[in-house]
């Protein structure tokens, strides 16, 4: 990416930057004050929306140890998941770069792991593993893809002359990998790890929330919801987001200490696909697509067999195929799936569009008024880590259970990654172009429109690709929490009546949609970027 090769260091999003902390505190204080006033003067939802003061009182009443003990279990599981997920991701990224032949299959599996609906695979984890393992696995799954992509991108973003230099001195692939690529991949890796830390915590909480655990924040959430301890439910959400913010800040700090030469980078997936164009044309593209599909189906089958999942529950590709083509019920099943799919596609598209537009607008506002960014970026990061299940009653109370709620849930889920990427990208505009605009007396706004936004386009597409599977997750979540319509709800109702063929068919379909949407955005990206390049 051209933007990445000639940026000057930016000091945005820095941890332990005193003026940054000051701004962030101001932002947080403003938010808390608004919230308090809203509860007092607008509505407390018949006492169901606690004010910050009530939450603070609840936390004081419960005591520090109450939250710290549960949090220690959650963090322990999150940390193990973080370790496993990232280690595996880094290892596979190295393999992918060292053995180009394996790159596509590895990335494909990564995408699938990112697109799997957690509502469906959570129960599978409960059957396959015992003890803490299900939540550790869910935490690992939450970080795997972003780190895989971050590492591969980093390993690729290498100064060619450096590689040539090693080559000139007689170094082979492995020398290049270890002496040059690894070091220069670090900034990208850290960018990914920074996102991974809050994601792992959220993954562990969701895992606990599903059940099968002895303790932890997620389980406490279940109990407090059931006991109508509303301020405590919110307090747990606050603790979760504070933990996530700490994890994010700690990773940022380590990143700055270990890679002091690095400029801030976004987790861009874009650079990855630019090269994948390769030769071969359509025939080759179709062949690789079929190959990937075959691989995914094989892994699906192999996991069911390898872990000896009871056939009553674990349905493989063949059973799902039969479910769809059964001479008696197949047509009915297909029609039903189609109806649900239409709802889910519509809901995800709405969430993706609204979430992205909102994130781009906010990123522009951040760029135009630096203070706003420093004040609210921290808040945005913290909000990202709130388990949405805890906020479901608020969402349905405020937004209802129709399209508005769907759009809001989808937008909340997709907003954050786009905001982070776009904010970084807008800040990374080639300095020379910006200086040029200044010399010609262009306004701040004009510079933004003619220089910064076009050069941030690749990052926008990167964000869209990350956000697309999230938008589908958001649509499933909205169905489950609010509307009761579409694939998301059918996944839970089929599970409730032990219709496991129906369940797996829907999981497969949802995953396929995520991958298709991901690929579709890649295609649009290529067309748009080509048009811009000309």
């Amino acid at each position: 990416m051209t933007a990445a090769t000639m940026v000057r260091p930016v000091d945005r999003l820095r941890a332990l930057n005193w003026s940054g902390i000051l701004y962030a505190t101001a932002g947080l204080a403003a938010l808390v004050l608004l919230w308090q006033l809203a509860v007092i003067f607008i509505s407390s939802g018949n006492g169901t929306i606690p004010s910050p003061l009530q939450i603070a009182r609840q936390m004081h009443f419960d005591g520090f140890a109450f939250y710290a003990d549960a949090a220690s279990y959650t963090v322990s599981a999150a940390f193990r998941g973080w370790l496993w997920g990232n280690s595996l991701a880094i290892l596979l990224a190295l393999v992918a770069v060292a053995i180009p032949f394996l790159e596509r299959p590895i990335l494909q599996l990564g995408i699938v792991s990112y697109c799997l609906p957690i509502v469906a695979i959570g129960p599978l984890m409960m059957i396959l593993f015992s003890g803490d393992t299900p939540k550790v696995v869910l935490a690992a799954l939450s970080v795997f893809f972003t780190t895989l992509i971050g590492t591969v991108t980093g390993l690729r973003h290498v100064d060619r002359t450096m590689l040539d230099l090693v080559h000139g001195f007689g170094g082979g692939t492995w020398h290049k990998l270890f002496k040059v690529r690894l070091i220069s991949a670090l900034p990208h890796l850290f960018a990914a790890l920074r996102i991974a830390a809050p994601a792992a915590i959220l993954g562990a909480i969701v895992g606990e929330y599903m059940g099968g655990t002895e303790t932890g924040l997620g389980l406490m959430l279940v109990n407090s919801q059931q006991a109508m301890e509303i301020p405590r439910t919110w307090a747990i959400a606050v603790v979760a987001s504070v933990l996530a913010a700490i994890a994010y800040a700690a990773t940022s700090l380590v990143a700055r200490l270990m890679t002091p030469w690095a400029r801030e980078v976004s987790t861009d997936i874009g650079g990855l696909h630019a090269k994948a164009d390769g030769g071969g044309g359509w025939a080759m593209a179709i062949a690789t697509a079929l190959g990937s599909l075959g691989l995914v189906l094989f892994v699906w089958w192999a996991i069911l067999r390898g872990f000896s999942v009871p056939p009553f529950f674990g349905k493989g590709p063949l059973e799902v195929w039969n479910y769809l083509v059964d001479p008696l019920t197949g047509a009915q099943n297909r029609a039903q799936l189609m109806r649900e799919a239409v709802v889910t596609i519509r809901d995800s598209a709405a969430g993706l569009v609204v979430g992205t537009v909102a994130a781009v607008l906010v990123a522009i506002a951040f760029n135009l008024w630096g203070g706003v960014e420093r004040a609210f970026m921290g808040v945005a990061i913290a909000l990202r880590s709130i388990p949405l299940v805890a906020m479901a009653p608020l969402v349905t109370l405020v937004f209802g259970r129709n399209m508005l709620a769907v759009v809001m849930i989808g937008a909340i889920v997709t907003f954050f990654p786009t905001l982070v990427n776009m904010t970084l990208a807008l800040a990374q505009t080639p300095a020379r172009s910006r200086d040029l605009m200044k010399v010609f007396g262009a306004s701040r706004f004009k510079t933004l429109m003619t220089v910064q936004i076009p050069s941030a386009l690749p990052a926008l597409f990167t964000s869209l690709r990350t956000a697309a599977p999230l938008a589908i997750t958001g649509a499933l979540l909205a169905a489950w929490l609010a509307t009761g319509k579409g694939l998301g709800y059918a996944i839970v109702t089929t599970a409730a009546v032990s219709d496991y063929e129906g369940l797996w068919a829907r999981v497969a379909l949802t995953t396929a949609f995520s991958i298709l949407l991901y690929a579709l955005i890649g295609l649009v990206e290529r067309i748009v970027l080509k048009a811009y390049a000309n």
Binding site: G45, S72, G211, V222, N223, M228, E229, G484, Y489, S498
Partner: protein, 336 residues
């Protein structure tokens, strides 16, 4: 976070895996060790098993029992079939559905003779009979959808006349006024709501043409045929019966063990758990259990449950239910 607490928290995080291993290494009694998959997170609903564990009833019966916590997304049927747990607990409609789909399972006893399934509303809503549901917005969890549809059918209510929306186990939408009624348990959710000062009423489905067992013990058919496993199940059920006999007498003990030992640190409220435990007795102890012992499923009640399931569109055969383990456990007595 002050320094000492930080160290403590860190140490707890590191110690957690070690603690689990050391427990697994404890001596196992003569019939070995089994796992029981609970139907929900560790709360009062499993007090009998907590007492059996604490008072060493299981140990005296020659068995060690691992109590596996359940939760919102845990279904006992696949877990029992996979062998991760020998015995599991779930509601009758869930198990009957699984069996209809080819799961080789049997129900060997029931916790609740009378189902606690209820439609809960704020008293001021004035919902006094099922007919009043027409035109209301009702929150139903996905896994209770089948039960709900059957309930409407039995009471002659057109499902299209009620606005059914998805819900979880969080009753906030009922209190905030977003929903008019909510599906929940009379011995759990109603108690919790009242404990929080909410004036709620409920329609117990069992009182409106909906007789059904709930929260049953289930095992695989293969377990019943295997001599060794069968002996383990009998020992487990003996321990559970003894534990529940104690629990029925002593709701305070049930609550105390739930809050201080088995569900410790998870934010359960002792007073609410005690009230729930007491409210559970009227579901567990009936004329039938006085005559045959706890968990017993009489022919009449089995027939009624099957008829209710049929209304819900679930085909269940009579041999889904068997008292054979209870017969072995009770040995002709009605208490142990």
């Amino acid at each position: 976070m002050d320094r000492r607490t930080f160290i403590k928290v860190g140490a707890a995080a590191l110690a957690a895996p070690a603690f689990i291993t050391s427990r697994a290494l404890a001596d196992t009694p003569k019939l070995g060790k089994i796992a029981y998959q609970l139907g929900w997170v560790k709360n009062f609903q499993f007090a009998g098993e907590y007492i059996a564990d604490t008072n060493k009833f299981f140990e005296q019966e020659g068995i060690a029992v691992d109590l596996l916590a359940g939760g919102p997304s845990v279904s006992a049927e696949p877990i029992v079939i996979s062998g991760k747990a020998l015995v599991g607990q779930n509601s009758t409609d869930n198990t009957a559905n699984a069996v209809a789909k080819g799961a080789p399972l049997k129900i060997i006893g029931t916790n609740y003779q009378k189902s606690p399934s209820s439609i809960i509303s704020l008293t001021k809503t004035g919902l006094k009979a099922p007919k009043g549901l027409v035109g209301k917005t009702v929150g139903i969890q996905a896994n209770n959808q089948v039960v709900w549809n059957a309930f409407l059918k039995i009471n002659g209510i057109d499902p299209a006349s009620v606005n059914t929306v998805p819900a979880q186990h969080d009753f906030t939408p009922l209190v905030s006024g977003e929903l008019d009624a909510f599906f929940g348990f009379s011995n759990d959710d109603v108690v919790q709501l009242r404990q929080k000062g909410q004036d709620v009423s409920y329609l117990l489905m069992a009182d409106y043409g909906y007789p059904m067992f709930n929260c049953n013990y289930l095992v695989t058919e293969e377990t019943l045929k295997d001599k060794e496993k069968r002996a383990q199940v009998v020992a487990f059920m003996r321990g559970a019966i003894r534990g529940w006999q104690e629990a029925v007498k002593n709701p305070a003990l049930s609550a105390q063990l739930t809050v201080d030992v088995y569900g410790k640190g998870n934010g359960l409220d002792q007073a609410a758990q005690e009230k729930s435990a007491a409210a559970t007795n009227e579901l567990m102890v009936t004329a039938d259990t006085e005559k045959h012992g706890l968990f017993w499923m009489t022919d009449k009640a089995v027939d009624e449950t099957i008829a209710t399931l049929a209304t819900a569109g679930i085909v269940a055969k009579k041999d889904l239910f068997t008292n054979e383990i209870l017969e072995e456990a009770f040995q002709g007595k009605t208490t142990l």
